[in-house]
């Protein structure tokens, strides 16, 4: 099964991922977004010359992400890889199919129920208030990423997992290496190996001295023979990376987007209505869609959709950033409008792999967006927008630094 079209044909195809326009750091790459007008499915060319389908529209992305004949198994031929991968090692369950994915996910899902997450809200509010106290007492300007956006979710996920926060430089640096698009396969494997060894050590500690944390629950599954120790450590790596990197980017990029839309920022600053704040979180998730590398799958059987046939073994990329800008679902999709009903967005993906930690992400962002701009009402950018280093090279989008003052 080959996925590569003959050379001359393949070379004219748009490259994926695309390049964002210089003056529009919040919008998807224009060449990719324009493909939506050509229909729901089109071919694109990846870094390795393969030519999977790009699914451009909201309805078809949802239909395919919930289709029983598509696979998330990264080891299957035809899977559209985002970067070179080194064989071997243990895979996390986001790269597996049911029933094994379902079995492993259920072991940790209980920690992220809406009710459990809601019970953590006062603790998250204390963390956010404490970090803002430090900001206000500290020097100006300050890098909001380092001083606030990264510490909030890192402190929260460390507490939940039972990982010592003192190690944050270590796990943040290795996470950053793993999710950069231009990291070599060797560097990625080495960073992954360091995190794996670190979590493996923690799982070992929890086996001997269980605490009241999620990693101890995972270790208990190892003791019960339901997980191997390698699977447990890999699960820890997944939860640790996903738990801080994504939310940190939403905090910093969201703040930058709001500073560029002062009328929208004023809505948040002046409102105490939890519904408005929750709605603002959904709209920022839709508008920014930081997981901008697409949801990737491979077809297990021939699938007919939108007048096309996707053949078994062909790769599929669901570009959820442009689905969330689909005018058929979101009128004036390129407008940031905190008062719109954006709850249907698929920034967390769709199908059985939809983000496991989404209730936690939502709650953290509600606390942050509902607090930061009220406590620092004169918050402003301390540099020009065109000097902000954006994560164009990241699997997850955001900013590397955000100098702010007040």
């Amino acid at each position: 099964m080959t996925e590569t079209l003959p050379g001359t044909q393949s070379e004219t195809l748009p490259e994926f991922p695309g390049v964002r326009a210089e003056k529009c750091p919040f919008d998807p790459p224009p060449r990719i977004q324009a493909l939506q007008q050509d229909g729901p499915l089109t071919r694109v060319r990846l870094w390795d010359g393969s030519t999977p389908w790009l699914v451009t529209t909201y309805a078809e992305q949802k239909a395919l992400l919930s289709h029983p004949q598509i696979s998330s198994d990264v080891t299957r031929p035809g899977y559209p890889l985002s970067a070179p991968r080194t064989a071997g090692g243990s895979l996390s369950f986001i790269l597996m199919d049911d029933p094994e994915h379902h079995r492993q996910r259920r072991m940790v899902q209980g920690a992220f129920t809406v009710r459990r997450v809601e019970s953590m809200r006062p603790a998250v509010q204390r963390i956010v208030d404490g970090l803002i106290d430090d900001l206000l007492a500290g020097p100006r300007p300050v890098d909001l990423v380092e001083a606030f956006a990264l510490p909030v979710p890192s402190l929260v996920i460390c507490e939940l997992l039972g990982v010592p926060y003192a190690d944050h430089d270590f796990f943040q640096d290795n996470s950053k290496t793993i999710i950069k698009r231009d990291t070599t396969a060797e560097e990625r494997a080495a960073a992954g190996g360091r995190l794996f060894d670190y979590l493996d050590g923690l799982v070992g500690d929890k086996l001997d001295h269980p605490g009241d944390d999620l990693l101890s629950q995972v270790a208990a599954r190892v003791k019960a023979g339901e997980l191997t120790r390698a699977e447990a450590a890999q699960m820890g790596v997944l939860l640790l990376i996903a738990g801080h990197e994504t939310t940190a980017n939403m905090i910093a990029l969201g703040t930058l987007a709001l500073l560029q839309h002062p009328g929208q920022l004023a809505l948040l600053r002046e409102s105490d209505d939890p519904k408005l704040i929750a709605g603002a979180v959904e709209e920022l998730l839709r508008y920014l869609n930081i997981t901008h590398s697409g949801r990737r799958r491979v077809a297990l059987a021939d699938i007919e959709i939108a007048g096309q046939v996707i053949r078994a073994g062909e790769g599929l990329i669901m570009a959820n950033d442009i689905a969330n800008r689909d005018p058929a679902v979101f009128p004036d999709p390129d407008e940031l409008d905190l008062r719109r009903d954006a709850r249907r967005h698929i920034a967390f993906g769709f199908g059985v792999h939809q983000c496991l930690g989404q209730p936690l992400a939502r709650m953290e962002l509600q606390v942050v967006y509902g607090t930061l701009y009220k406590r620092i009402p004169t918050l402003t950018l301390a540099t020009d927008l065109d000097r902000i280093p954006f994560k164009h090279d990241g699997q997850v989008y955001g900013v590397y630094e955000l100098p702010v003052t007040w």
Partner: protein
């Protein structure tokens, strides 16, 4: 309106609980959906339909009538 849920399909993402907490909850140990009210009052119908539409696993079914 008659609501049914498929516990085997449910992936525990919790969207339904956020949208219609009077109708849906989650099991504490593994986050799987708990149906609190299979025949919700008319005031809940819009929220339940939205919950079914956003359920990533297609685990919520709505029968009309009755």
């Amino acid at each position: 309106m008659k609501v049914t849920v498929d516990e085997d399909k449910c992936c525990g993402a919790g969207n339904c609980v956020l949208l219609a907490p009077e109708v849906f909850d989650q099991r504490e140990d593994d986050g799987i959906v708990l149906l609190l009210n299979a025949e919700p009052a008319g005031t809940e119908h819009a929220r339940v339909r939205e919950a079914a539409a956003v359920c990533p696993a297609g685990a919520i079914r709505i029968g009309e009538g009755a």
